[in-house]
Structures are given as C-alpha cells and as structure tokens.
Symmetry: C2
Subunit: 473 residues, 2 copies
C-alpha cells in the first residue's frame, strides 16, 4: 500500500508547525525521531516516522487529521509506547501523533463516580489521584506506572484484576474521538447503561489506534473496596497450582481480586534481576500470588483462611500471608518485574506471548508450552493472569540462534502457540492486541467472513487507510 | 424502501417449508400471524408479517437467510416479543424469524463458569437452572420471567441490578451469529478477556436484530453472592429520595445490588392492580427499594443498618427491612408489576419512557418530568433504576385525547423528554433500545458523522438491508 501514501514534505511540516507550534514538531532529527520508532516489543521491530507531532487539544488533533487525510499521509497515534505488539510503530513512516502533551485530568466527579481525562495521563497518576477521593480506577493494567490511559483503551488492557473487576473495557463510559477524516464524535457519557444505536464506544475500545484517536476519556470509578490481603503460595508442580485456581473460584465460589501465576523459571530470572529470593525457590516449580478483598477484617481473615486451606489441600508447599504493605510490595514486585527480569537475563527475550484459553484448558495449554520448550530446546518462562486463562509464555533466545533470524523463529513459535490456544477454544491475544506482530497469525486463523466485516468497518471509519496502517487488518 | 423488497410468494413458502418443515411455517392464517405482529409497545404499533418461520438449528437459520437475501425479503428476528420499542415488529412484512423452538440450554460448564444456550431460552429458566449449581446469571432484566436470552442480548437489557452487576453486555462472552447473508461466524468464547480484532461481539450486543441473528449464546456466570436483604423506604418528597441514593453510593461508598425508585402515582396504580397496600401510602411521595448483599450475616446487618441510617438522616419516613422471603417478594412485586398496574388503569398507557442521565442530573430530570406532566395535564407515573440514572416516565392517556391521536402525542412528549435527557448529558434509551418508535428522535439528536458510521456498518453486515429493516438507522 505504501506507494499510495503521500510523504511529509516541507510544506506539510510548515502546516503542522502552524497547527501545534514549531517546537512541537520533530522532523529530520534522527536521534529524536528514534524515540518514537519502537515500542516494548523491541527496537528490532522499529521504524522511523517522518515527523512526530505533539498536539495539545482536540482541535489540533482534528486539524492534523484533516491535513493528513487530504494528503494521504499515514498517521500513527502513540500513547506511552509500552505496547507489546507493535501497534504504535509507524510502519509506513508518515506522522507519529504523540499524545504526551494531552496529559490533564480534567474532572473527578464524585457524585457520578467518573473521571474525565486526556489521553496522555499516566494510569497510576489517575489511580493515585482518585484514591485521595476514596475511589478506585479499576481498569489499570500491569504497566500501571508507565502506560497512558488512552493506550489502555486502545488495547483493551487487562492486567491482574480482571477476574474481579474486568478489563479496561468495563471501565470506559465515554470517549471523545477524532475520526481519521478529522470529524469529532462523542460516544457514551457519564452514565453506565444505554442502548442508543450501534455501540461505537465498544468498537473503539481495543481497536489499537486504527479507527479513531481518543482525545477525551470518561472512566468509571468504584468505591475503594476496603481491605485486601496478598498471599504467596509455592507449589511443587505446575498442574497442582493450576488446579488450585479452579478449586478456589469454582468449588469455593470465591472471586479473588487477582490470581497470578509464575513458573520457576520466571521467578528465578526475576528474583535474580531484583537481587532477592523468595521462599521455597529451591523446591517450588510454580507460584500463585493471590489477592483477596473484603468489607471487614473478619471477612478478610475468614477468606484467606479458606483460600489457604484450599491451597494446602492441593499440596501447596506453604501459604505466606503478607502481614504488611512491605510484604505485599515484595510479593508483587516479583510479578511486576517479570518483563525486566527476562530482559536482564537476555536482551533479545521476546515478550509477545499473550494467549488466552478457557480456565479448564489452562493445564493442557501449560503442557503444550512445556512440549514446545523441549521441542525447540528453548527456555519459555511463563507468567499468567491465570484465573482469566491469560498466559504470557515468553521466549528466550537460544545461544545457537542468531539475532537476525530470531524474530522470525520467535514468530513461528508464537504462531504455533496461538494455533493451540485457538484449538482449545481461546484466542491469540488476551490483552496486548494484534498490532502488526500478530497480524499474520490473526489473518490466518480468522474466518474470511469475519475478516471481511472488519475490513469493511475499517474502510467506513478510515476511507483513505491513513490511520495506523498495517495494523490488525 | 418497501418497493425494493421481494414478497413471500408460494414458491418461497415452499422453500421455507422445505427448510423447517411445513408445520413450522405460518402463512395466510391471519389470526396466527397476528401473534407475531406486535410487541409490548402495544398492538397499535403492530404490522402483519407475510410468514412466520420457526427454525430449530443454526443451519436452518442460515438457509432461511440465504433464501431471503437472494430474494430480498425482509426478515425480522423475534425473541419473546417483550420489547418496548417495536424492534420485533415486521414493519415491511416479509418473514418473522421466531426463535421459540431454539430453546435448549446446551451446556452449564461449572469450571469455566459459563452457560451456553440457544436464543429462545427464557431468562428465568436459565437463572433457576444455574442456581442449582450454586451459580448466578446476573445479566437478567426486569422481564426475567418472559424475555428470551437472545432478546436481552439484542437490546443489551438492563434491569434492577445494573449498578452492581452491569447490564446484559457484561455477561455475554460469546455469540454464534448468522449474518444477513447466511454466513455463520463465532465471536468470543469461554473466556473473559481478549484483544483479538475489532470487537464484533460488542457491536452485536444492543444491535436490536439488525446486524445478525444470534443462534448460540455463551454467558458469564458468577458465584452466588450469599445473603441479600431488601429494604422498602418511603419518603415525603421525591428529591429527598433521589439525594439519598447519592449519599449511599457516593458518601458511604456502598454499591447495592439494586436501588429502585417509584413515585407515588406508580405505587398507587400498581398496588390498586395488585389489590394491596404498602406502608405510608397516604404520606409518601416516593419509595426506594434497596437490595443489599454481603458475604456474611454480620456484614449484611452492618450494611443495612448503615443504609437505614443514611435514609433516616435524609428524612425517610421509615425503613422497612424484609424479614422473610415473602416480605421481599411483596416489596418487589410492586416494582415488577409496574407495567401491568399502569395498563390495568389505562389500556392505552404508553410504556416507552426509558431515558438515562448522569446520577447527578436525576433531580433535574425529575423536575422536568413534573413540569411536563403539568404542562400537558397528563399523569406520568415514573419508576426508575435510579442508581443507574435510568428513568421510566410513562404516559397515561388523558381523557380528552383520542385513541387515534394518542401515539403521536405520546411520541412528541417522549421526544421532549429525550431532548432534555441528552441536554443533561444522558441518552434516549437506557435499556429498551430504539426499535422504530425512538428512531426519529434518535436520528434527530445524533451527529451526522456518527450516523454515517452506523449506516456504513449496517451496509457492511447487511448489503441488501433485509434484516429487520426500518429499525435504529
């Protein structure tokens, strides 16, 4: 498609400078442009934009899109660049539209329990701000400290607390959207239910910046639920850990806030990076981190005693209950630094594993991952939002594979795992999205009838295919 | 558009009989066809289909759609016909596709906490069935005893428990859909998160039978939450009742399962119909019905004491705590029989009121309803899922208005209320949908840019505009 696109000429640069001010347009300066070339999938996937533009209002975004649409210049919206599927990479050059300056929390509305934010607000900044008001933003993902809210919306981010609070989708009540044509529409609002035409709001969520640019976001807030406690539970083997999850949720009917899984390898790599140790690292093949929540102290005690009992009945090696905030932070740190731990051990570690399967199929998926690991003689550390059936099997580059051939080999293995997840009744991405890295396997595994609908939708929203081309579809 | 449609000829009837069997095709028999002409919006809006077809498999539905698409015959899917916006009415004649025979619960999968059902399952049948397994289907609307699950999906139904459990959308994990062309696609699955292409699943939910026909539905189930209690709280005036809701949710941070509102008029009409009385009917101008839920008996007591105190601090006339299942049933009966009560008092009562506004705007919306009631000298009994800001202001035909002119006058008043709701930051339908009754005001109040996207989407899914024409867009 590339030859059909216009290029960012000097005249266009001048027009962009006119719209956002000269200091908010980057061009020619390769070093600065490189900061906008890649995302967390790795520099190896990067591509230089011709220009980076930093608007600070809806009006400016609209003008930029009108200009780009007239001149058929590709525009790639960029939030924090913390994505793992390459969705923010300007594959066809053109303009990167960075939302970094649109970073204001516009409104915290206690009565309606909503926040209204600009797209460039860092997730944790909002979380902390609403906490002051006794409220919680429960749509945050694992990358809470770096990701922008708009990026979370674009990928329908997940994270650790989906089993109880749902993914980002559940917490998005409204969006102001600039369409690829520059038109501005408002979807949803400060209300929690409506049946008022086709739900374009939900279509936008998870569209990875290919259908529209979010310039204002209305978020659902929930009352702080009171007390939580964190448990760290080591197991002698993986399957027992997995089965325990079903026992907690299904047999006991307890919905924790989070149930995170880490295998031995991922714990070893992460604790090494953190220069720490956690209990039973010599014996444990798998760990669960369980967060529970209750209205009252007694309720919470009752809950973690029940859960602890279930774990021990399932041959957990022990159950550690965090007794302080520091304890909790230490437990969660190991999970949160998973990606960093892998990268520290292997700078070429590929972090694109993100399959989702029905809970009942998690043991089989785990066995398949083990089989693949042995088949390719490759280390595949795996962490998981296990109660959601969302697994992150990551790939460590074997010594005998060259850096050049590695992305292709990694992709093939991810494709194999995706095929298995789909065969087990799951999907190829739980929360990272398709971007362009998962696009080939996505196109291969979807029915043509469904792909045609998606292609048709893309064309309706973006007749010139200028918004984030090369992604998803 | 009518002249462009084909008619249901004898040949087509024969083909339909071939597909579903002769006894599952109704034609020519006006009396039988009339059963499929209207919905709960009233017979006055009805329109006769040329034929009614009752498939019992996805394959049959697909064949019917292929036949209809080839011959450009309008097809109107029909669930239980309990809708209130006319979405199931065959405006252009053609075929009514009744899902009544596809009424099997296919699978209750405890480990994955999902049920898989056919479209014609009555909502309460599923609710009771999963209750036997210690699970709850929380996506049910107020019309639980009559509506079909597929109808709930088509309207993204709401009901009383949205504030805690969300509307039907939140509980739909997957759909098998027959497209207007007869193609079959599967969306979602037995998992709770994914970012795997444009979210066609959510686009289908709330599309009121205009984009596809649901032939299989995968539903989220939640563990039974334990104990609930119901409170009945009379207030001396409406605004105090409304303000109390914000105090409970916002100031105290308590999310009840349900907070229902009824004004004096709606209570009077419903209790008259039920031949009963509830407390303080002489003095109370408004009632709240509040359902609370907790893990434990103590938690529940603690909760209803807090809520009771908040109510009394807000000048509630009293707080009645249901002490038995019978008590609870008696309280809820008054709310559940609201529509019947109105209809009994006035067979021409119009039940299309369904605006939604931000919680903070409920008092203003209530004042506007009162103003309109006085302006037109018309009784407007109002019930509301008030914690969601979803109000049902219904219209009683004044004696001096003729039956013939009534629908037009009612529509004008609903339009006026819709305009106000939208001005207050809300929407024209919280849960009933647009159908064709709300279509004019929907088209009038939406931006052309957004309508064009919706029209484009409709065309992508249904190039010949045969599926439920005349609805929404």
């Amino acid at each position: 498609m590339k030859e059909e696109y216009g290029i960012v000429t000097t005249e266009i640069i001048e027009e962009l400078q006119e719209i956002v001010g000269a200091k908010n347009v980057i061009f020619e300066d390769k070093e600065k442009l490189e900061n906008y070339a890649a995302d967390e999938a790795g520099e190896i996937f990067g591509h230089l934009p011709e220009a980076v533009v930093k608007p600070d209002s809806t009006e400016q975004v609209s003008k930029i899109m009108q200009l780009a649409n007239r001149n058929k210049i590709p525009v790639t919206p960029r939030a924090a660049g913390s994505g793992l599927a390459g969705a923010a990479i300007p594959l066809y050059g053109g303009i990167v539209l960075s939302m970094e300056r649109m970073n204001k929390i516009l409104d915290i509305d206690k009565v309606n329990r909503v926040a209204v934010v600009e797209p460039g607000v860092i997730t944790n900044e909002l979380c902390l701000k609403v906490l002051d008001e006794g409220l919680m933003y429960a749509g945050y993902p694992m990358s809470i400290e770096t990701s922008f809210i708009s990026g979370n919306v674009a990928t329908n981010a997940g994270g650790g607390k989906v089993i109880k609070y749902g993914n980002t989708r559940r917490h998005i009540l409204g969006l102001e959207v600039v369409l690829p044509t520059g038109e501005v529409i408002e979807l949803g609002g400060k209300f929690r239910k409506d049946t008022w035409g086709y739900n374009l709001l939900h279509l936008m969520i998870g569209s990875e910046g290919t259908l529209g640019i979010f310039t204002k976001i209305i978020l659902n807030l929930v009352p702080c639920a009171g007390r939580t406690v964190d448990l760290l539970v080591p197991f002698g083997d993986i399957e027992t850990a997995v089965n325990t999850v079903a026992d907690i949720i299904v047999s006991a009917g307890i919905i924790p806030v989070a149930v995170e899984f880490m295998d031995k390898l991922s714990v070893d790599l992460t604790t090494k990076y953190l220069n720490t140790k956690i209990a039973f690292q010599d014996k444990a093949e798998a760990y669960l981190i369980i967060q529970l929540e209750s209205e009252s102290k007694e309720g919470l005690e009752n809950l973690y005693e029940k859960v602890g009992e279930i774990c021990l009945n399932n041959d957990a090696l022990d159950v550690f209950v965090a007794e302080s905030r520091t304890d909790s932070e230490n437990i969660w740190k190991v999970r949160q630094e998973f990606a960093e731990g892998l990268r520290a051990a292997d700078p070429y570690a590929s972090l694109s594993g993100d399959v989702v399967v029905p809970l009942s199929k998690v043991p089989e998926m785990m066995r398949e991952i083990k089989r693949i690991s042995e088949k390719y003689n490759m280390r595949i550390p795996t962490a998981a939002h296990i109660a959601d059936g969302n697994l992150h099997p990551e790939l460590m580059k074997p010594a005998n594979v060259s850096v050049e051939e590695w992305p292709k080999i990694a992709e093939e293995i991810y494709d194999e795992m995706t095929d298995i997840a789909i065969r087990l009744g799951g999907a190829g991405s739980g929360e990272h999205g398709i971007g362009f890295i998962k696009k080939p396997i996505f196109l291969k595994t979807k029915l043509e009838a469904e792909l045609n609908l998606m292609r048709g939708i893309k064309k309706i929203f973006d007749p010139n295919f200028i918004l984030n081309p090369g992604k998803i579809i």
